[in-house]
């Protein structure tokens, strides 16, 4: 038993019960269907802007880019232009590759003792799972635009078609799965988030550094993915009514259509909680990656001086001033002076 993930799990269970019972027993559809989503979106946007502006105001005292290759120096030494970016352009390229392919995570190694020696082994699984997680989540979000636009943009429909490319249906007396068309991204997201969670629990050295703030978003995203998949393939929700609700939100004419199952409000509440929690959590790495001084500065320290903005004017006593002060005494003592 680990307090950190038990608390996170408990928190998500409480959130589930709150929204499920709140809608099912108390009838708080307006609260969970309209008020919380709006509040969450405002918190999300305002919070992200606040956090980013806070970072923007912070000084960068040192030029500290991480380097993974030869810096540009003498003309006959070949520099690694991208892994040790010398120009702003190269820095942008490195940042782009970092954001899109997670290259620094790709270099992830695991330390182990093999035959009495410390080894650093290449560990690819975290990178793979992270890539699968982020891209499937992005696909899921883009797919959801169909519930927030009318007419649905062509690009979104194209992604839906590609996402449901593999049609598979399981049709037995007990299990009926496959209609509406199965989207790969949802299942990949669920699998990836499960891997990331299980990794934190099973790997002792990762469990040791994991806190509730690490487990909570994973369990919450698991809840979001699971509730979404559940109401698509298992306990179906009237999609037309669901879209009427979401369209009401984005056209600023919020309505609560009849006939939406409580599981929909659970899904919506989980998403609202994730949005509201986002700016105050580690999930802010979404914006933070762009503002990392280890990534967004060119590694040109030997060519350009990085001025520390903390530097204040230091009172100095130059030799000229010293000589002015002690000239007569220096002459008396027979010391050489620059000005007579």
């Amino acid at each position: 038993m680990n307090v950190n993930y038990m608390y996170s799990l408990l928190a998500v269970v409480v959130l589930f019960l709150l929204s499920y019972l709140g809608v099912k027993a108390v009838g708080l559809e307006i609260l969970f269907g309209i008020l919380f989503p709006y509040l969450a979106l405002i918190t999300f946007i305002g919070g992200v802007i606040y956090r980013v502006m806070d970072w923007a105001k912070s000084y960068v005292p040192f030029c500290i880019p991480t380097t993974c290759g030869q810096q540009q120096s003498l003309p006959w030494i070949t520099p690694n232009k991208i892994d040790n970016p010398f120009t702003p352009g190269a820095t942008v390229v490195r940042m782009f590759l970092e954001v899109v392919f997670f290259r620094s995570l790709f270099r992830n190694t695991r330390n182990a003792i093999r035959e009495g020696k410390l080894t650093h082994e290449w560990e690819i699984w975290l990178w793979l799972a992270a890539l699968a997680f982020h891209y499937s989540f992005l696909t899921v979000i883009i797919r959801h635009i169909r519930l927030f636009t009318e007419p649905v943009p062509f690009v979104v429909q194209l992604i839906e078609t590609v996402d449901s490319f593999f049609r598979f249906e399981v049709l037995t007396d007990v299990v009926q799965f496959g209609l509406p068309a199965v989207f790969m991204s949802g299942l990949v997201l669920l699998a990836a988030v499960t891997f990331l969670f299980v990794r934190r629990i099973l790997a002792p050295h990762v469990r040791y550094i994991s806190l509730a703030a690490d487990y909570f978003p994973l369990i919450l995203i698991f809840g979001i993915a699971f509730s979404g998949i559940f109401m698509r393939y298992v306990s179906k929700v009237n999609i037309k009514a669901a879209k009427e609700l979401t369209m009401g939100l984005v056209t600023l004419h919020p309505t609560i259509p009849e006939g939406i199952a409580p599981i929909f409000y659970v899904h919506l509440f989980f998403v609202s909680v994730l949005l509201a929690y986002f700016p105050f959590s580690k999930l802010m790495h979404m914006a933070g990656i762009f503002l990392s001084p280890t990534r967004n500065l060119p590694a040109n320290t030997r060519a350009k001086r990085h001025i520390n903005p903390w530097n204040y004017p230091v009172e100095v006593h130059t030799y000229e001033e010293y000589e002015d002060e002690f000239r007569e005494k220096m002459i008396e003592a027979g010391l050489p002076v620059e000005k007579e």
Partner: protein, 129 residues
């Protein structure tokens, strides 16, 4: 800091992306489509299953029907009230709901669903143009 302008640009892009549904739908009131029932459907009052079930789960029912007809050669569907129906999209469903454009397509288009029923059944002669 002299990076302020880059950061502000980034924030503006972020804001534009997050609020995309709001400005995409600006000035449009988008109520859900009204489904038109044919006279025959109105007269029948109930579908093969209760309306709320049909609205959410009709695709599941059709899938089962297809499976039972094609794989098991069973053609009779008995609903919860004990009434018997011929398991056929063309002959049972589209018999009442002969107005595909106003019945099926409206919601499917609204929720961006492209069912493959019509890959085969589009030639249905009962469809009212």
């Amino acid at each position: 800091m002299n990076d302020r302008k880059y950061i502000l640009t980034g924030l503006v892009i972020f804001f534009a992306i997050v609020t995309f549904p709001f400005w995409y739908n600006l000035g449009k009131a988008a109520p859900g489509p009204d489904i038109k029932l044919t006279e025959k459907a109105k007269a029948a009052k109930t579908c093969v299953m209760p309306t709320s079930y049909m609205r959410a789960e009709h695709m599941q029912l059709l899938d089962l029907w297809r499976h039972n007809v094609v794989r098991n050669a069973e053609r009779v569907f008995v609903n919860t009230e004990g009434k018997e129906f011929n398991m056929s999209l063309s002959n049972t469903c589209l018999d009442c709901h002969s107005n595909k454009a106003d019945f099926c397509d409206k919601c499917h288009n609204y929720s961006s669903v492209r069912p493959y029923c019509w890959d085969c059944h589009i030639e249905n002669p009962k469809e009212a143009k």
